[in-house]
Every structure is written in C-alpha cells, then in structure tokens.
Amino acid sequence: MTNGGTATAAGATAAAAPVSVRDLTVAYDEKPVLWDADLDIPAGSLAAIIGPNGAGKSTLIKAILGLVPAAAGTVRLFGEPYERVRKSVGYVPQRGSVDWDFPTSVLDVVMMGMYGRLGWVRRPGKSERERARECLREVGMENFAARQISQLSGGQQQRVFLARALAQEARMYFMDEPFAGVDATTERAIIGILQRLRDDGKTVLVVHHDLQTAPEYFDWVVLLNVRIMASGPMEATFTPDNLQRTYGGKIAFLK
C-alpha cells in the first residue's frame, strides 16, 4: 500500500527473479524490526538497501538468508527456497561480526568461501589455493595472502571479505555495509568490483549507509524503515519525497 513506485515483476517472471520476498516480518521481543516486506529485485541489478539506523536493513538480509528467524512471510531466491540455492548465493557480513585476532591468514579466510563446495571433511587443495589467489588478485590483495588478518587495516579486511564472497562463485551476492569505515581508495576499488559483477550478469544487493554516493554507485534502490517504503530503479525511486518518507522529517539533501 505504501510501495510507491514498486516495479513488481508480474506473476510469471517473478518465479525466476533473484530475490522475491513476500510479507517478510521479523520481530525481536515485542518490537517488529522488519514488517511485512515485499520485495522483487530484477536480475543483474546492483541494488542498495537504504534507510535510517535500526531500520532493519541488516535484518532484511539476514532474514532472506535464514540467519534470523522470520515471524511471517516467504523468501524465494531464483524461485526456490534459500536452502536449495545456497550454493548460488554469496554473503559478505559486517566486518565487526568477527574476531580479527583469530590465528589465520588472508588466504585461509578466502578459502573459507569454498568450504560449501568442498563439503564435509575434504581439505582445500592446490586448485582451491589457486582460485583463492585469483580472488585476492581481483580485489588487489594478492600480496597479502600470507598475512595474519590482525595486521590488516579496515579497508583491507573488507577486501578480504569480498574476496571470500567472490570465491563462492555465486549468482547473487548479499553484502552488509561493505563501505563502512573504509578509505576512499578501497571504496572505489570495491564499487569497481561490484560493478564488474553486475556487468557479468550477477545480482548484487548491498546494505548501504551513505546517501551521497548511492545514486552514483547503484542502479536499483530499496528504501527501508521497518517497512519497505519504496523499491525500484534508482533514478525513479531515489526522490526527495520517498527519502523524506523513509527518514521521517526533513533531511538536508545535498545534491
């Protein structure tokens, strides 16, 4: 009802949409954090999820991936429930969710992205190492392969996480605040990679915190504040009106 500008795919093609969410609701204690979310992301988009703090952006991603329990609603990825398409989905969690003092090298972390494909017990071998190095090359970190992760800067850590997601060789990627606390060079590098992914036909869904850069980086936007306020192509949807409804109250919108 308030999905102004929703470019909802019609019944037939919705089945193959990378992300198709209906009535997704997540609540902690008695407070709904995500309410009645309806979402369709078309294939090959580089989409941003934008909204104020505490608006449920991370929760949306985690609920789609089944990392938090949903009180109601359904999620379909490429027309299937998540469990069946896990291997096609890459996930880059928030950097702060991990203990960077853990004794492991950069290369090891990237190889973790391949654990899903290796299956139980099997150890990563030479081809996995090679693939991991390639992913590191893509993010510009190939010289850091043997580095202990506690010695990395924020931007470098983010790139390692990105490389790990690339190693998953997914058709779709979910990323939670990949640009938080990284330097400008890293940010440019990352968005370059994301755009390359999009150009390769992958779908990328990113929780983004910076209103300034959103129109420049992304071609699809989801405005979220507990409820989905709007979702659609960037130009049509990223309007002062929609932003005001999302952020509630006047925001100084610098163009």
Partner: protein
C-alpha cells in the same frame, strides 16, 4: 542458643552478607571472578599461617584478602596486556595460585590441619561448636559474630557508596568523568568480595559462599529491573533458600551446605520458568500471542491491499491465504476466526470471500502508518 538455631542464623547471615555483595558483582558480569577468588585465597591463607607461625585468624584473613586482590589485579593486568582474552586470563590465574597453595601446604605444612576438603566444602554444621572467648567469657558462636560483622560491613559499604556503585556499574564513562574513579570502586568491591569469601567460607565453606553470592541475585534479576528491589529480593531469596535448605538437610540427613545450594538451584529453576515477564513460560506465551496478532494484522493488510482490485476474487479466499501467507489450514482458520471475533472481518460470504469490516480497514491503515 540451640545448635539448630545457631546454624539457621549462620546460614541466614551468610546469605545476607553474600547477597549484598553479589548483586553488584552479578550486575557487572563478574560472577566467576568470585569463584576464582574463592579458590585463589588458599596461598594467602598459607602465607598468613606462615607469617604468624601458626593458626591465626587475623593473619589468615589478611593473607587471604591480599591473595584475593592479587588475583583480581593479575587477571586484569593480563587482560590489559591484550595477549589473552579476559576469560582465559581468569582461567589461568586462579588455578595457578590455587596450585601454588596446595603445593606449599603439601610440601611445607603437611603436618598442618589445613584440610583442603574443609577449605572447599566448609562445614556449617560445626558453627555452633566454635565459640568466641572474649575476656574470658563465652560470647557465642564465632560464625555468628564474624558473619554478623560481615553483613554489617557489606550493608554499610552498599549504603555509603550506593550511588557510586550504581553509576560505575551502568555507566563507567560517566562515573569517571564525574570524578568517581571507577577503578577504585572496582577494587573496593573486589576487596569486599574477597573479605566476604574469606569470612564466609570458614563458616559455611567456599562452595556455599559462591552459590550465595551468585545465585540469589541472578534469580532476583529475573523478577525485577529496579535496583533497590533487586537487592531486597536477592537477600530474601538467599535467606529463604538457606532456611529451607537447612530444614531439608536436617530432615534427610545430608550435607547442609550442599542442600542449601541445591535448594537455591531449584528456586532459580522455578524463577527461570515462571517469572512473570522474563520467565520461559511467559516468553513462549508472549511469542504465541505475538504470532497470532501478526497473523491477524497480516490478514487484514492483505485483504485491504487487494480490496476492490481485479484480483480481489482470488486473493480474498481463505484457501489462497494459506498459500500466499504460508499458513497451515489450522492457522488460517484460527486467524480468520479470531479476526471475526475481534470485529475486523465479516463472516465468509456465500462465494467464499472474506471482506473487511470498517474497523478492519481502520486497523489496516494503522498498521501501514506504523
């Protein structure tokens, strides 16, 4: 005084003293530090024994308290060095000190009656037997005097520094900014814990002391959020548990200390299940209620979305609801029934459609605005 009364009073006083110091310990999430201190005081006792050349209550007391503070300081220095995490630091320091203590006892004081069993278990049953001789007269059981003093001391500490403790527990940054030196308060509290542990264990054993320090405050925290109530409830739970435990132990002829601890455990378990808001039962009832409420709201919103649209015919059937909202037949029919009862939805019409009432439409609007 009858021996039974002495024991009961001892237990009750121990519960008071421990609960008073335990509340802030638990609030600061340092419950296990108390456990660590209770073990690490052993070398302190040994040192006191050695310095005083014989069993001496005061020397032992000071030695143990010093050992307790040393434990805290070592643990925190270790954590501060950032080479190990906090829980590892705790798990390293107190066993090392305890091992040192046992070694010293075995090697140099093996003829001493420092029964390690007693150090850990203590025996409250002996409380009536040890009495204090003051000026040649028997003034009553030592345990009562020492625990009474301890309770008074702890109560005084809590009263005098109530606001400092409260502030530094919930907002150490602000406390520091206001000049209340959280570090000083911290060590003072730890000192009280050490003193209480030492004073308590000679009467009732280290295990019981730790239980009395940790379990009542945590139990009370399930029942209230207000600090004064928390303190009062902690003391109440501790005392009640002690008295009941003592009665049961007498009836079944088992270890008094152990029985008190077990009783406290049962009380905790009951609170865990039945606490009004935080208890497990209350939580699952609330979740169920929430689910049903969401379901009703989802129903209403769904109907409102499709009202008057071309798809109304197919979308507003109960069977379709199951499919779209992924409800079981059971859930669907129950939700519809509840929605009807709440006056949100009209009864299913002859073609099998569901329609909103005006009130239902209102609710849908509200939900959208939320």
């Amino acid at each position: 005084m009858s021996p039974n009364l002495v024991i009961a009073l001892t237990a009750a006083l121990a519960a008071c003293a421990c609960a008073l110091v335990g509340v802030f310990l638990v609030l600061r999430r340092m419950a296990l530090m108390a456990d660590a201190i209770s073990h690490a005081i052993l070398p302190g006792l040994v040192a006191g024994y050695w310095l005083a050349r014989g069993p001496n209550v005061v020397a032992g007391f000071f030695g143990a308290s010093a050992a307790g503070l040393l434990t805290v300081w070592l643990t925190e220095s270790l954590t501060r060095s950032r080479r190990v995490k906090e829980d590892t630091a705790i798990g390293l320091v107190f066993p090392a000190l305890f091992a040192l203590g046992v070694l010293l006892v075995s090697r140099f004081f093996s003829n001493v009656h420092l029964d390690t069993d007693a150090v850990l278990f203590g025996e409250i049953a002996f409380a009536p037997l040890e009495t204090w001789r003051l000026g040649g007269r028997d003034v009553g059981p030592t345990a009562l005097w020492s625990l009474g003093a301890l309770t008074t001391l702890n109560a005084a500490f809590l009263t005098l520094f109530y606001k400092e403790l409260k502030l530094s527990t919930f907002d150490p940054g602000l406390a520091a900014a206001l000049g209340f030196a959280p570090a000083v308060i911290h060590y003072a509290l730890m000192g009280m814990v050490a003193v209480t542990t030492v004073g308590g264990f000679t009467a009732v054993g280290a295990i019981l002391v730790i239980a009395l320090i940790i379990v009542p405050p945590v139990t009370a925290s399930l029942l209230t959020e207000r600090l004064p109530t928390l303190i009062a409830l902690s003391v109440a739970v501790g005392v009640a548990g002690s008295l009941i435990g003592f009665q049961l132990a007498s009836a079944w002829d088992v270890s008094i200390g152990g029985m008190i601890v077990s009783t406290l455990g049962v009380v905790f378990g009951v609170a865990l299940l039945l606490a009004p808001r935080k208890g497990l039962v209350a939580q699952s009832l609330r979740h169920a209620r929430l689910r049903r409420q969401f379901a009703r709201e989802a129903l209403v919103v769904h109907l409102a979305t499709h009202e008057g649209t071309a798809l109304e015919d197919s979308e507003c059937r109960p069977a379709h609801l199951q499919e779209e909202l992924l409800w079981t037949a059971d859930m669907a029919s129950r939700t519809v029934a509840e929605a009807q009862a709440a006056g949100l939805v009209q009864p299913v019409d002859r073609e099998g459609h569901l329609h909103l009432t005006d009130r239902g439409r209102e609710v849908a609007e509200d939900v959208a605005k939320r």
